[in-house]
Amino acid sequence: MLSIKDLHASIEGNEILKGLNLNVKPGEVHAIMGPNGAGKSTLGYVLSGREEYEATSGKVEFQERDLLELEVDERARAGLFLAFQYPVEIPGVSNMEFLKESVSAARKERGQDPLTAAEFLRKAKAACEQVNLPLDFLKRGVNEGFSGGEKKRNEIMQMIMLEPTLCILDESDSGLDIDALKVVADGVNSQRDGKRSFIVITHYQRLLDFIKPDFVHILADGKIAKSGGPELAKEVEASGYAWLEDHEETNA
């Protein structure tokens, strides 16, 4: 469903991704780990189409479409979802209004009928309960005054509502205590249905105790330095990222 070939990307002229390759098939969970500054978040932003992040060369195919040709909102409607590391606060737009608009855009794209007000509310209520957010948060502004943990759970809540085909979680674990982490992980796991795919970006192995990946990739200096199974995450847990430097030296 997603095929990234030799992707190079820059921000303000600095090359961050330097020839990244990745293939994700339906239903797979890929974890991307790596030290700070390796380009993990950049990958998420480039795939979602953030303006300042420019793909300079390479190819990204998503659901047999040229992803890099699509606008941000077209990518989202095509089924790509990025859970942000730092979601913005938009005080004047209520969560309710925002969710209604985004859900109806997604459904329209999929050729589904719009939800009735009652159906929408029922779904929203269930999704809120699932990630342990009080229902009255729907009336508040988008992320307005939310704690860091609430913002992350709100991202997962949106993911549940939008039913995307590919979910990219950008450090959805950062800043969470163990209970909040479990809520996030449970939310993600509930959406694994054998067809939906996930790219889980994380600095620490901890999240992967709760979201079991099929593949683990180590991203370093803008490239996948090593790929393997879940055991690779354990290796990182034990030895950190220092070995990457040796690895690069051997490469050189």
């Binding site: 909102d73 409607r77 938009i90 737009v93 925002f98």
Partner: protein, 419 residues
């Protein structure tokens, strides 16, 4: 002097009632007041040209509106004026204990004495149209909330104006110590009308006032008025003013921190098109220490409409430890739209915390990206964010019934500006 003002003086000379001494004083001053021009600082951006030669009768047989606008779930005590005349029988209102409401026109001596403690005690005496209102407003209400009384039910003074009519109203409100209430000044109308409406509020110690003023007159109307507040010790004011703009629409909202530890939160929302004009003037006087003022005025101006904001916070020499913030943000929807904004802080005390600013807003790219990343088109995301800019203040209104009533009205109005 304009023809209109000459007529005012002429008409007012024949008014005789218990307020006559005050009316005479206003008249004396009006006779020597020159008609504002573009060179008059207070009226620099608001032309009175359309009023100068206007002659409208004070009564009409054609009542465009006679019913108060319905606000679902508000459950308010309504006092309705149509073209300046009461259509509510004020004497037969059923009121909670501790609340008294009297017509100014029929006030007995005891009420007159109480009302005198509010009448012209708060409003600045130099406002031209305030003086016109002093001279001509024969109708109005005096609302008194007794000490310690907390009124659940909002009190709404509805002021409806019809096409082709001139009217003048006054609202006087006294909140006793620890009293608590919600007062709504609800102005609406259709067609070309001229109306002045001034309200004065005196808040006792630890009194709490939730205040709304809606100036939702038609685009042909001329509406000039003010809401003026005198804060008692540790009193609280939460005021929201909403204006649609008209041919001429000018509202003054002034607060005097006359005793310490008072808090005044003042929001204002305006949404203007196609050629409407809205002018908000505000003067906040911090006379004593330890007062707090938070003022936020936000507007969206479309087509060829024009907004004027003039806000001044004056912190006197003794007003140490004042906290004051004054912000005016605007969104211009078209090339022809205009905003003239002058936020000002005048500080004579040395230990205060103040901030002020005015911006012509731009939508943050980051916010747009976030909405787009959830599948919302750039165009729709812009509409949401633009409206969100004033919706933020609507959602801060403590009265949820009013907020729920206002939001779709503003949204509908905004939709016509988008195209």
């Amino acid at each position: 002097m304009s023809q209109w003002l000459a007529n005012v003086i002429d008409r007012a000379s024949s008014v005789s009632d218990w307020l006559s001494p005050a009316r005479q004083e206003a008249l004396t001053r009006l006779k020597t007041t020159s008609w504002p021009t573009r060179r008059t600082e207070e009226w620099r951006y608001t032309s009175l040209h359309a009023l100068a030669n206007l002659t409208l009768p004070e009564t009409s047989t054609v009542k465009v509106m006679a019913e108060a606008p319905v606000v679902a779930g508000l459950n308010s005590i309504d006092i309705v004026f149509v073209d300046g005349q009461p259509t509510t029988d004020i004497t037969s209102l059923s009121l909670p204990a501790g609340v008294t409401i009297h017509s100014l026109a029929t006030a007995d001596e005891a009420v007159q004495q109480q009302a005198q403690q509010v009448f012209n005690q708060v409003k600045p005496d130099a406002h031209l149209f305030g003086m016109v209102n002093d001279a001509l407003a024969q109708q109005g209400v005096f609302i008194d909330i007794a000490e310690g009384v907390q009124v659940e039910q909002p009190i709404r003074v509805v002021n409806l104006v019809s096409d082709g009519v001139e009217s003048h109203n006054r609202v006087l409100v006294r909140l006793g110590d620890k009293a608590q209430t919600t007062i709504i000044e609800h102005g609406a109308g259709q067609g070309g009308s001229m109306n002045t409406a001034f309200a004065e509020y005196v808040l006792g110690t630890e009194a709490k006032l939730e205040h709304y003023r809606f100036a939702l007159h038609g685009e042909e109307a001329i509406h000039i008025g003010g809401s003026h507040f005198k804060m008692g010790e540790s009193s609280r004011l939460n005021s929201t003013i909403v204006g649609y703009g008209s041919q001429i629409s000018r509202i003054d909202t002034d607060v005097v921190h006359a005793a310490e530890h008072a808090l005044a939160k003042m929001n204002c929302i305006y949404l203007l098109a196609p050629k409407e004009h809205f002018d908000l003037h505000s003067v906040i006087e911090h006379v004593v220490p330890n007062g707090t003022t938070e003022q936020n005025a936000r507007g969206i101006v479309g087509d060829k409409a024009r907004a004027v904001f003039s806000g001044r916070i004056h912190i006197h020499r003794d007003a140490q430890k004042t906290l004051a913030e004054l912000h005016n943000r605007n969104l211009l929807m078209s090339r022809g739209a205009q905003i003239s904004t002058t936020p000002a802080l005048e500080i004579y005390a040395d230990d205060v915390q103040c901030a002020h600013g005015a911006t012509i807003a731009e939508i943050a790219e980051e916010d747009l990206y976030y909405l787009q990343a959830r599948g919302i088109s750039r165009k729709d995301a812009l509409i949401m964010l633009n409206f969100g800019f004033i919706q933020e203040l609507v959602s801060q209104m403590p009265n949820k019934a009013l907020a729920a009533w206002l939001e779709p009205l503003l949204r509908e109005r905004f939709a016509t500006m988008e195209s």
